[in-house]
């Protein structure tokens, strides 16, 4: 099946700030594809090149090298055709604060080519979707941050795009609004919309994504389904047990003998804690509990730590995602 999006060797070097030197190479030749109907997340810290990539894909800036093909159209050769297929939700609130929510929608809708009854109908539908139909006539500058975010998303959905770019749409919003936005992304995807979602929040990428691309310093350092990426790292699940200090040594010996456990170490900071490593932590846990019970050793606390995208990023870069 032909992918909806194909990115080939994409590079972007910005002009040098002082006119001297080569300028910052923000995107260093990334290539990837996105299938129709999937939610694809670009995960990476601030400055990784995610927004630059989306800006090129949206036709806002020209690539230095490479190309993006969306729906069979090249962004460098036929940007207008590409822009008919995409909806863009920028990171900042790109609205006119002195105008009402509906007037904002109507203006951008007209630039999308909508008009008349079709525009009015779509505005109604979008306002319903973002939950602001009853406040559509109020000025944007009277809205809360979360409400502005919702209108910001709504503008990108007016023309029912095949592909929607969401560039860090939850930055600076309260937990309730974040939940609402994430649910909206899922709902859009269920309606058949393909979503390219950029974030530096690992939890969002994990919750939403069919596939993830991890970017750092302008490079795509990992690409695939979450489970595949985690397996690639070789990072094991960790079971952390808290036991009375007098049982630690015996428990260590006992648990090392279990075949489901690959390693047991005493926590370097807390002498009453044991770190057990396993390929499958949740399945190993009953074996661990049973063995301790038979030896009359009752753990006072149990915690399972499974590798996640944060672990993948740490494994690949040696840094935490939020460093």
């Amino acid at each position: 099946m032909t992918p909806l999006v194909e990115i080939h060797g994409l590079k972007k070097r910005y002009a040098p700030k002082n006119g001297a030197g080569e300028g910052n190479l923000a995107v260093k030749g990334i290539s990837l594809s996105i299938q129709k109907g999937e939610i694809f997340s670009l995960l990476g810290p601030n400055g990784a090149g995610k927004t630059t990539t989306i800006s090129i894909m949206s036709g806002l800036i020209a690539p230095t090298e490479g190309d993006v093909i969306i729906g069979g159209h090249s962004i460098t050769k036929n940007a207008v055709a590409v822009k008919k297929l995409i909806g863009v939700v920028p990171q900042e609130i790109a609205l006119y604060p002195e105008l009402s929510a509906r007037t904002n929608l109507e203006f951008f809708g007209r630039l999308q080519g909508l008009g008349g009854a079709a525009l009015a109908k779509r505005c109604d539908e979008v306002l319903e979707f973002i939950g602001l139909r009853d406040r559509q006539r109020e000025r944007i500058d009277t809205f809360s941050g979360g409400m502005k975010r919702r209108v910001n998303i709504g503008v990108g959905l007016l023309h029912k795009p095949t592909l929607v770019f969401m560039d860090e749409p939850t930055v600076g919003v309260d937990p309730q609004s974040r939940r609402s936005i994430l649910d909206a992304v899922k709902a859009l995807n269920q309606q058949g919309m393909t979503v390219l979602y950029t974030t530096h929040y690992m939890e969002e990428a994990e919750e939403l994504s069919d596939r993830v691309g991890i970017m750092d310093h302008g490079e795509l350092i990992a690409l695939g389904k979450q489970i595949e990426l985690i397996q690639q790292t070789g990072v094991k699940d960790a079971i952390i047990l808290k036991l009375p200090s007098e049982h630690i040594e015996a428990a260590q010996t006992l648990l090392r003998a279990l075949p489901v456990i690959s390693n047991v170490e005493v926590d370097s900071d807390h002498s009453d804690k044991l770190h057990l490593l396993s390929d499958r932590g949740r399945q190993a846990l009953p074996h661990v509990i049973r063995a301790l019970d038979e030896a009359n050793m009752i753990p006072t606390a149990i915690q399972i730590s499974e590798p996640n995208l944060e672990s993948v990023f740490l494994h690949l870069t040696g840094r935490a995602l939020r460093d």
């Binding site: 806002l60 822009k83 920028p90 006119y96 002195e98 007037t103 630039l111 999308q112």
Partner: protein, 415 residues
Amino acid sequence: MDIRKVFQIILHNIRLWFADPTALFFTLIAPFVLTVIISLAFSNLGGSAAPVQNIPTLIVNQDQGSAFGNFGAQMEAIFLDPPEGLAELISVEALTDVDEARQRVRKGEARAAIIIPPDFSARLNAASPTFGQQKVEIELYRDANSTISPQIVGAIVRQFLNSFTNANIAVSAAAAQNPLLVARAAEIGQAVANAEPLIRLNVTEGRQAQRTTFNALQIFAPNMSVFFLAFAMAIGVVQIMVEKENGTLGRMLATPTTRSTILAGMFGATYINGVIQLTLLIVATSLFGVLLGTEVAVWGTDIPSLALLVLVVTAAFIGLGTIIAGLSKDRVQAQVLSNAILIVLGILGGAFFGSGDGSPPLGAVSYLSPNYWGANAFTQLAGGTFPATHFVVLLSMFVVLFSVGLLLFSRRVEI
């Protein structure tokens, strides 16, 4: 380029303009108030004198008289020594040279000239066999740039002629007591009674007039209007940079709308805002001039030329705003730079101390300022001359400044 979308962007920007009361205040109300204050400060427009009085009027009596008398002399005498009521309204000076009279009207030194032809009395000879067959023309040569005063003079002349015509001729004929006419008294009386009004008032205008003096409102209304127009245009162009910073420009660019369409819409909106601002200021200051009873129309009476000047002056200033924005690194620098440059250009152009004769207020250095060319163009037009040189200079400024500015500006905002 999608013209429909260009208009949508223009309408959207005008809507934004009207949604911001502060912008409206600074682009419309503040310029008008300052224009009025400065004009009042530099003139006696606010005095308590009657709005229209002592209208400077010239009379040239070329009438050579006839056997029945000299009707031209009678008319001249009435104007030179007007009855009570008229005496305060007009101030009449007698001249002998028609060309000199016309010249003085054209220069704005008099509002109108009444020119009595050489055969005025001869054609009014009721005893002549050709009496009534030829009309007699009195010419009222009026200042094309004045509205009220020439009309007042014309009304006085018409009133005089209406009462003068048939009755006066009959009286004159009788008064002549010429024995030769006694036998023809009935015939003459019948001819006079049947005659249609014989005297026609022919009003001509000094259209090519070159005024050399102007009132304060004619100087300061254009100066202040152009001064504020310059700021409005600079703010309009800088607003495009603000839209880039706010992300709305990027959002527009992400729609299937070409960059040229978006730029045309945004610059078009700024241009139309400028035209609206200047037009409203022209209307407001003109009405203010009428309220104060100014002798001449503040912006002149040549409406098509005035409209043309509004378009070209606004264009010149959008060019200036574009090049300032193009030279600026960012919005803040553009705002600082435009404030500094526009104040200097305003001073050079005479925004605060326009010269009473419309000449460059600071000599040759004023020629560097588009403010001078813009404001002086309006003043020249108000004086009755279409400022062709100014027009060409302003148009050239627009072409050069806008072209270079757009090139620089497009690089700055990556559009």
